[in-house]
């Protein structure tokens, strides 16, 4: 089959003809892939709330309009239905409704513009109060413990954040004790429940505390901008980690906490060390401990060896010195020996008691004495003087 062609030189391959569905799907893909979520301001008209819970309305300014839908999940979080003609801010993504080929904006947050201003004012006032009391002062920040035994977690018991925190913390540090203090993290009760839960943390023997929730619309994080919650967080006695929403969301709690984590999983990573790293640290210490003792004993044995060497050489010196002196004294003694004198033919008179008789007066008449000569004693007697 060949179709008459408005353009192109050759026949058209039917396989290249798009269906309407193809066209709308491609256009939708282009829109969704290239448009990030945005805030849009406008006036609400043709508002319709269906029994299914979804809202449909048109947003317009003086020159243009766009059809909008807000699904039930998000409707439940909106504070109140907008009145016809109300000025609102909506947050969401533009897309294409394929069945109708309609350009449509899917909103996840709807705020009355006058409330938005009030909210900003409230936020500024809270921030100013916290700043005045020094709660946002960077010098207040405490370091996180390196090896916490007990981790307190303040979040919703139903939320994905708790699951993420527990899963990550346990995979890194199975022995960590996790105490969860449950609190609603959005809605009317969130502020008192979060504040109370944070006070409860001070009754526990926790080493570190994570407070947070998973991602949500900016509105859903508002409890974490409340002064009561911020002050309760500042009063937690152990170091705190905040993990509120996605990385791009920053709440006042993030500024009050000692450390801000990008996400709940990241908070768990910051809170507990990886056991493999700690094993490495402990193994390193074991090696150094053994090495320290070995080195200690080697040094001592070297010192002992050196001392023994010195002792030995010292002793040798002493012995040599004494031997030398002995020899010298021996020679002197030898030279002085009376035997030497007798050798030369002298005789020494000695009393019976062995005293040398040196003076004439000592030789009284009749005195018996001995005369020592070279080879013995000769008994002698003094004749008349």
């Amino acid at each position: 089959m060949t179709l008459p062609l408005p353009f192109g030189p050759a026949g058209l391959d039917p396989a290249e003809v798009w269906s309407v569905s193809d066209l709308n799907q491609a256009a939708r893909g282009l829109l969704e892939q290239n448009m990030p979520p945005v805030w849009v301001r406008g006036e609400v008209t043709s508002f319709k709330s269906y029994a299914s819970g979804h809202w449909y309305f048109t947003l317009q300014d003086g020159n243009a309009q766009v059809r909008c839908v807000m699904w039930r999940t998000w409707v439940q979080r909106a504070k109140s239905k907008p009145e016809e003609g109300a000025e609102v801010h909506i947050f969401g993504t533009p897309g294409l409704w394929e069945e109708k080929g309609e350009f449509r904006f899917t909103a996840t947050v709807l705020l009355r513009s006058d409330q938005l201003g009030q909210q900003q004012q409230q936020l500024d006032a809270t921030r100013a109060a916290l700043t005045r009391d020094g709660l946002l002062d960077p010098s207040r920040k405490r370091p996180l413990p390196r090896y916490p035994s007990t981790l307190a977690v303040v979040t919703s018991l139903e939320g994905a954040a708790l699951h993420d925190i527990v899963t990550v913390a346990r995979s890194r540090w199975p022995a960590v004790r996790i105490l969860v203090v449950g609190a609603r993290v959005q809605g009317g009760d969130a502020v008192p429940e979060l504040a109370r839960a944070l006070r409860t943390v001070n009754l526990l023997d926790a080493d570190v505390c994570i407070v947070g929730r998973g991602g949500g619309a900016r509105e859903d994080l508002s409890a974490f901008n409340e002064e009561k919650v911020c002050r309760a967080l500042a009063a937690v006695k152990v170091p705190t980690i905040s993990a509120v929403g996605h990385e791009s969301d920053i709440t006042l709690c993030d500024l009050v906490a000692d450390v801000r984590a990008a996400t709940p999983s990241n908070a768990a990573e910051l809170a507990v060390p990886d056991q493999r790293e700690v094993r490495g640290v402990v193994d390193g210490l074991a090696l150094r401990l053994a090495g320290g003792l070995t080195r200690r004993t080697r040094l001592l044995s070297e010192r002992l060896g050196r001392t023994a060497d010195r002792l030995e050489s010292g002793m040798e010196g002493v012995v040599r010195l004494h031997r030398h002196r002995l020899e010298r004294i021996g020679a002197q003694l030898d030279a002085l020996s009376p035997l030497r004198v007798l050798e030369r033919g002298f005789a020494v008179p000695m009393s019976q008691e062995g005293r040398v008789l040196r003076r004439r007066e000592e030789f009284t008449p009749g005195l018996r004495y001995r005369l020592s000569v070279r080879n013995g004693d000769v008994p002698s007697r003094v004749e008349d003087a």
């Binding site: 413990p145 390196r146 090896y147 916490p148 035994s149 007990t150 018991l157 708790l162 699951h163 527990v166 899963t167 346990r170 199975p174 022995a175 960590v176 004790r177 996790i178 105490l179 969860v180 203090v181 449950g182 109370r196 006070r199 409860t200 009754l203 526990l204 023997d205 080493d207 056991q275 700690v278 094993r279 640290v281 402990v282 210490l285 074991a286 150094r288 401990l289 090495g291 320290g292 003792l293 080195r295 200690r296 004993t297 040094l299 001592l300």
Partner: protein, 74 residues
């Protein structure tokens, strides 16, 4: 749990022991004592590291501050 030293204390004490042992002014007796203490601390640190997986507890405080905890399965 509160009575036994935490891993943080064990590691801190171990670092101190190793630091002293690596200095030269420790006599052999003291070095041996330090070494023995270090070995005991190493053993405890490794026991803590190999500790059993703890359960997750949900804690509630009543108006008087009394705590009540229940196990949470995650």
């Amino acid at each position: 749990m509160a009575d036994t030293p935490s891993l943080a204390e064990e590691v801190r004490a171990l670092e101190e022991i190793v630091r002293r042992l690596e200095q030269e002014d420790v006599d052999l007796d003291a070095a041996l004592k330090l070494f023995e203490e270090g070995i005991a601390r190493l053993r405890r640190a490794r026991e803590t590291l190999a500790g059993a997986e703890q359960t997750v507890q949900s804690v509630l405080a009543d108006a008087s501050g009394a705590l009540r905890s229940t196990r949470v399965d995650i």
